[in-house]
Amino acid sequence: MNILSFLVIIPLLTIAGILAAKDAQKAKVISAIGMGIQLIVSFAIVYLYLTERRNGNTDEMLMVSSFEWFKSLNIYYTVGVDGISVAMIALTSIVVFAGVYASWEMEDLKKEFFISLILLATGVFGFFISLDLFTMFLFYELAVIPMYLLIGIWGSGPKEYAAMKLTLMLMGGSALLMIGLFGIYFNSAPDGGELTFNIIEISKITIPIEAQRWFFPLTFVGFGVLGALFPLHTWSPDGHSSAPTAVSMLHAGVLMKLGGYGCFRVAMFLMPEAANEMAWIFIILTSISVVYGAFGAIVQKDLKYINAYSSVSHCGLVLFAILMMNQTAMTGAIIQMVSHGLMTALFFALIGMIYGRTHTRIIGEMGGLMKVIPFLGVAYVIAGLASLGLPGLSGFVAEMNIFFGAFEHPDTFHRVATIIAVTSIVITAVYILRVIAILLLGPVRDPHYAEFNDASWYEKLTLVALITGIVYIGMLPSGLSGIIRESIMPIVNKLM
């Protein structure tokens, strides 16, 4: 059995364990154990991957294994990883692990909650290890659908509306994607021979350019919906603000990365000619995403909305960087995915914890929290500083790479787009510092705040796990960017 398949099997076993548990209280313990093992396995995979590479294995994908599934259609369950997927797997396992602890005080329908949450995680892990477009698509949809129940049942505010909007928009995206995948599949053997869904196989042939012109935009937009591509990002603020804490963490932290990952792994990698032709359209759209998201965050009053818009901005930056199609910018894009995943998960976790104490998410109704809950306060400041790109934290590394790479293009169009996108840094600073000033500093707003307890052990565990990741990437970026850089080369070479 290939070690990668464990990433799918462990969550499924965890679900089985939760189902078998008689006591609903045990659901969270089982989930924590399962996801703890998952975390260990993920890092074992990172280690194995690094060892293989150090031993001089230069294959594009490592740990590949393949099972025949639908033979006549040439559909295989094929898994394998390169540096990019390894980074995403590590990110996912940290966020899911933290997410389980962030839901430690979940009261209502515990079993069902953890089952849906872990089912979602199964989809995400499966997506990142898949090398076959069919299984990739299967896992993609599997990751989206539990969101409906997670937001609809355990959410807050206009949860039913938000859940329905999110599900329908994302499934709409996957509908476009499905057509794109058919287009790729039925053009995967232009010279005759067997059609295939295998990404590596398809990357070796050239899909006819006429087909690419049709199916590249469908695929890119299909994934782009999940990556909050303007103007299809509107599910994100509503969805994130209504979702329960752990779900916001997972969704903004990991699920939105599926979009970016799919955009370059499928759309751009397999249809490079059309990608080059049409990149300009999407560069304009993503530049708008980046700036619009940041401005959106400035005017919001609700902490979750602020963070949701900030996610639109940051994920827009991921797509923006991918479209720059050079090694530096694309490396930056992947680092940004990991960095934003950790950072936004940290934000949402903190918002959940603060809301648990103050019972409001409106920033104007709070103040002086730093004095009463210093641990959470400091964590919030760290998250904020990472978000606005302070050197030493992960956001800086990512944005440096992205903007350096983007500016490498000598032509006016790319440079103007880059300059527009760079302005988001300033706007980000405005909304982050504004929140920190109102929320954390100043006099204690309410005398009842004195009764607040600072973070409990499981809250600290959540926060420390995430902050460790952020600081590690910020201080020692070479480890992460090293494994990403070499894996990005085949994709960049194809795009050149």
Binding site: T167, L176, M178, I179
Partner: protein, 473 residues
């Protein structure tokens, strides 16, 4: 012709035998043992289904009137499985006092319509096809009017028989034109003489309309919702799944075998009808509050999805039509089974009544959710695989626009399926449907459906088997 040759007709013969057994057994059943007749009938039919699975000889009988092959045997087995589930789900309902004296009638009618469907599928001649079709339809009308003291059931019966008679008339008219232009009613002979002449095409269009009635394709669907709502729920589920499946099977066989020459005509017709059926079925389903009507319109839309497998005339298309029919049987019967069970136990049929169902009946709600997700085509349940391959079949022949319309329609469908999920899991209710216990056969029927929904998709072997038995033009 040696007696062994009759073994080719094994499905029909075994069903006839079961029919006679029930007829005779009924005579010897005491009044007070009538209740037990239900179990007897179900076990007997399970036996029939099992016998059907045995390998069968292939060939043709009666000078080509009757044809048996791997494909037809597979189709008949699928119909048998579906009927078995319907019978299991009818168990509670048949136990009603007013149904006590009619239990054997129920079995007899259901078996005779199934015999008709089997003959229809095995037809090698339009006359045989028509005989089978009528044998399949007339008992169905009796079944729809089974609760004859209730106005709406009687109304459903009369609506079904009238619209069937009309559609059969249209179909016969079409056949007469085809006979007039080709001079034969044998499938192979017609196939070799069909040409794109105006009269043949006109005949084909009449034939097509007749079949569209049976499959309840838009714009020939108007009888569907009324009949489904009025008929007993189990009959509605039989109509929406087995009857529709049988019509789809013979339709695809005839299109592929008899009319391959005029594929360019019928693929255009199917294109339009598919778009209309899927879209209108979905749009009407959006507004339904009665669960039976809701499922009726959703099943109209589903019938439209079947057409995506027809349109290319390719091997993958036939494979997916059969494969999807199998999945659809498990899926839709699970949904109908739950609606039937709830209607039987509490008399509630409205979507609003399902509010908060998860709190009181978690297992039923989860099964319903699985079924709805499968209908919507959400992984990892079987409906996803079925839909994906159906769309792939149409995409293989380049019908990308049609696929796009169908795929976008699945989003509309997802919306209304989620409405039911929302009612069960999210909405709160002052008076939820109370928790209840179901009997053994209802549970078994649902368990088979769940197993089918979960396993059929992953079981690639099944898909490959169906593919080996399918053919394209």
């Amino acid at each position: 012709m040696s007696p062994e040759n009759f073994l080719m007709m094994r499905h029909e013969l075994v069903l006839t035998l079961a029919f006679l057994t029930i007829l005779i057994a009924e005579v010897f059943t005491n009044e007070d043992k009538k209740e037990k007749f239900r179990s007897f009938g179900i076990v007997l039919f399970a036996l029939v289904t099992a016998i059907g699975m045995l390998p069968a000889p292939e060939g043709s009988l009666f000078g080509g009137m009757y044809q048996a092959g791997g494909t037809t045997t597979l189709m008949k087995n699928i119909l048998n499985i579906g009927t078995l589930i319907v019978l299991m789900q009818s168990y509670t309902w048949l136990g009603r006092p007013e149904n006590r004296d009619k239990i054997h009638e129920y079995f007899l009618l259901l078996i005779s319509t199934l015999i008709g469907m089997n003959f229809m599928i095995s037809a090698g001649h339009f006359l045989m096809f028509y005989l089978g079709l009528e044998l399949a339809t007339i008992p169905l009308a009796a079944l729809a009017a089974f609760e004859r003291y209730q106005n709406r059931s009687a109304e459903a019966g009369i609506k079904l028989i009238l619209s069937s008679a009309l559609s059969s008339g249209i179909l016969l008219f079409g056949l007469s034109m085809i006979y007039g232009t080709t001079g034969s009613l044998y499938f192979p002979e017609v196939a070799s003489r069909v040409a794109a002449m105006p009269l043949t095409l006109l005949g084909f269009i009449f034939f097509f309309s007749g079949m569209a009635f049976k499959m309840s394709l838009v714009p020939f669907h108007l009888w569907t919702a009324d009949v489904y709502e009025g008929a007993p729920v189990n009959i509605s589920s039989f109509l929406s799944v087995i009857s529709k499946g049988a019509a789809a099977f013979i339709f695809i066989i005839i299109l592929f075998n008899v009319f391959p020459v005029i594929i360019h005509t019928w693929e255009r017709i199917i294109w339009v009808i598919a778009v209309l059926t899927i879209t209108i079925g979905n749009l009407f389903a959006l507004r339904q509050k009665n669960m039976k009507r809701f499922l009726a319109f959703s099943s109209i839309a589903q019938a439209g999805f079947f057409l995506l497998g027809f349109i290319g005339g390719n091997k993958l298309g036939m494979t997916t039509v059969i494969y999807y029919a199998l999945i659809y049987i498990f899926t839709n019967l699970a949904a109908f089974g739950i609606v039937a069970l709830i209607a039987e136990k509490t008399g509630k049929e409205s979507m609003d009544d399902y509010d908060g169902l998860y709190k009181t009946n978690p297992k039923l709600s989860l099964t319903m959710m699985l079924a709805l997700f499968s209908l919507a085509g959400i992984p990892p349940v079987a409906g996803f695989f079925g839909k994906f391959f159906l769309f792939a079949a149409a995409a293989e022949k380049g019908f990308y626009v049609l696929v796009a319309i169908a795929v976008l329609n699945t989003i509309v469908a997802l919306y209304y399926y989620l409405l039911v999920v929302k009612a069960m899991f999210i909405n709160k209710s002052e008076q939820p449907i109370p928790a209840f216990k179901s009997d053994f056969f209802s549970k078994l029927g649902l368990a088979i459906c769940i197993a089918g929904i979960v396993i059929t998709g992953f079981a690639s072997g099944l898909f490959e088997m169906i593919r080996n038995l399918s053919y394209g033009i």
